[in-house]
Amino acid sequence: VPRLTPDNVKRCQDLIRLYPQSRSALIPMLHVAQEQDGWLTPDSMAHVSELLDLDPAEVYGTASFYDMLFTHPVGRYLVSVCTNLACLLNGAEELLEHAEGRLGVAAGSTTPDGQFTLEEVECIAFCGAAPCLAVNWRFFGNVGNEDFDRLVDDLAAGRLADDVPPHGTLCRVRRQVGLTAGGPPPVDESEGATAPQDSPR
């Protein structure tokens, strides 16, 4: 049963240290959990609640509020087609219908092979290139039907692996430093020294 890996526990602990109050790290930690498994498994959410000393219901209740966090499995590629106003005016409903036909699933569902989840989303702030969509939050604009088919083919064949990491991987750049404004970084606790608080000065 997947829990958070030791490396991801370390990432979560580093995140907690960035905030004056630990609960602020909850959503960033849920992104780490979603990166690990592609969605938020009950076990990873339970692990997050342990790390933050929160009731599991608080974690689930927060996660389920947010559209990007999935408490059920989704495909390797989350295809998010915008149909809000600017896209609507530029053929987004036709694009969504085409996408449903091409992938063979209705918006809100996943292909049987687990590769693609199609969803209709609200504005994704790429309106200069309407109609647009995102795959795992990498953006594609001015998408015609043929462009969509080519995109699906490229994703399925792994040709876009560098540009579009698997679902859940959001930010591939890691923060390199902890908080430093308050003074020198804390001494490693394993050496028995008392770590200074990261709280505000």
């Binding site: 959503i27 509020f65 702030a125």
Partner: protein, 434 residues
């Protein structure tokens, strides 16, 4: 008219690797911060007050005034709002990807002037590339000595944390954003207190500024508040990015001098929107995000001026202008906006949670050909329950302004295109063929 005012916040767009520290330093980057540190906190605040910089997020409140309202207590936090989610607004998305160091520099200047001990840049979770570039920029800025203990050898110390959101329109509302930043559901806080300056993040005095707002600060520090205030007209000072989309030949973000350029210029000037495809006629446009009541062709000569648009019964809001030409079904357009608000309601307040759903259902049946003659009255009655008197700005019936924004599109569409609703109802079908 289009003025020849220089760009302020989009100067690095199109530069090679514009998001890197190297590109930033080659173009005067962090000089604004250095100058601010040499001026002292109060002098920086004075310049920003003189600049008349209105917040660029949507509410349009004076940034300098916001800072001056901070409760005298420690610690002070700065939260930079990059949770851009108002439909058809895409300027912050662009700024975060193209010029993250400018945001970091503006954040640092703001933190210095307000005495903040820690700054959080809240980035909309969907902006994956933006998160990567901003995180890299913060890493670079720490290594460069612009963030951290004793910035550039001064007595100013600050930490900056890039915080990813997780997908919720409501978190653009500043108190919902603070709740989200505290690791909770994005429920807006009841008012008063009206401003996080009194009680904000962790109940501490907090400044919340939009990313475009802070992006203006390096320039204001370098050139002075008066130079900024000399651009635009009156309270609508400086330049501003307008996100133009919908039925236009050149949909894009355009940074233009406020107030002097009109909606007509923005939509039709060859250097800006370049008109409507196929030479079709303008039917209506959204002047400031989909929360704003619509305008028609008769408002094309109005300047992009916050006060003028407000007096005319709408708002410049988030600076997004959406053009709808004669081929647009206004029932469908208004229904789509209504569906958005219903979906994004946080659910705390009944008028918004339930009213939005009722409006969605009634709009749906009209568009799909099952509308009733009584539906127009029903729509207006539900709208009136959400925003009594259907006035603008709306009256408070809910904790935040999302609820009272729902009626904007429906009341606009009925006011301007009543016949179109009646045709839908009478013929039992959408005359535009969807």
């Amino acid at each position: 008219m289009i003025t020849d005012a220089d760009a302020i916040v989009t100067t690095r767009l199109g530069l090679r690797d514009s998001w890197t520290l190297r590109a930033h330093l080659e173009t005067g980057g962090y000089d604004g911060l250095r100058k601010a540190l040499s001026m002292g906190r109060e002098a920086v605040s004075e310049e920003v007050m003189k600049a008349n910089l209105l917040g660029r997020g949507g509410a349009g409140f004076e940034a300098g005034k916001k800072w001056s309202m901070l409760r005298k207590a420690e610690p002070v936090y700065l939260v930079v709002n990059g949770d851009e989610s108002e439909p058809c607004t895409f300027k912050d998305h662009m700024l975060i990807e193209a010029d993250p160091h400018q945001i970091v520099e503006g954040t640092l200047i703001c933190a210095y002037a307000t005495g903040a001990s820690q700054a959080f840049i809240f980035v909309r979770g969907e902006f994956a590339l933006g998160l990567e570039r901003l995180t890299a920029a913060v890493n670079e800025a720490y290594a460069y000595g612009a963030i951290g203990r004793r910035v550039f050898g001064s007595d100013f110390s600050i930490d900056v944390v890039v915080h990813p959101g997780a997908g919720a329109y409501i978190c653009g509302e500043e108190t919902a954003l603070l709740e989200s930043l505290e690791g909770k559901r994005g429920f807006p806080r009841d008012k008063p207190p009206y401003f996080p300056a009194a009680i904000g993040l962790y109940k501490a005095p907090t400044v919340v500024n939009n990313v475009e707002t802070v992006s203006n600060l390096p320039w204001i520090v370098q050139h002075g508040g008066e130079a900024f205030a000399s651009l635009g007209i009156g309270r609508s000072a400086g330049t501003r990015i307008f996100s133009l989309s919908g039925h236009v030949n050149r949909p894009a973000n355009y940074e233009i001098e406020m107030a002097k350029t009109t909606f007509g210029d923005l939509i039709f000037d060859p250097k800006l929107g370049a008109g409507i495809p196929g030479g079709r006629a303008l039917k209506a446009f959204v002047p400031g995000g989909v929360s704003a009541p619509w305008f028609g062709p008769e408002q094309l000569d109005m300047g992009l001026d916050q006060d003028a648009v407000g007096k005319a019964g709408s708002m410049l809001g988030s600076g997004s202008v959406v053009v709808m030409d004669e081929s647009t079904c206004m029932v469908r357009a208004a229904w789509r906006i209504t569906r958005f608000f219903h979906r994004e309601s946080c659910g705390q307040c009944t008028p918004c949670r339930e009213g939005g759903g009722w409006l969605d259902k009634v709009m749906r049946r009209i568009e799909l050909g099952a509308g009733r003659e009584s539906d127009l009255d029903l729509l207006l009655d539900v709208c009136d329950n959400i925003a009594p008197g259907l006035t603008w700005p709306p009256q408070k019936t809910t904790i935040c302004v999302l609820g009272p924004s729902i009626p904007s599109s429906i009341t606009s569409a009925i006011r301007m295109f009543r016949d179109e609703f009646l045709v839908h109802i009478k013929e039992g079908a959408c005359p535009f063929g969807r």
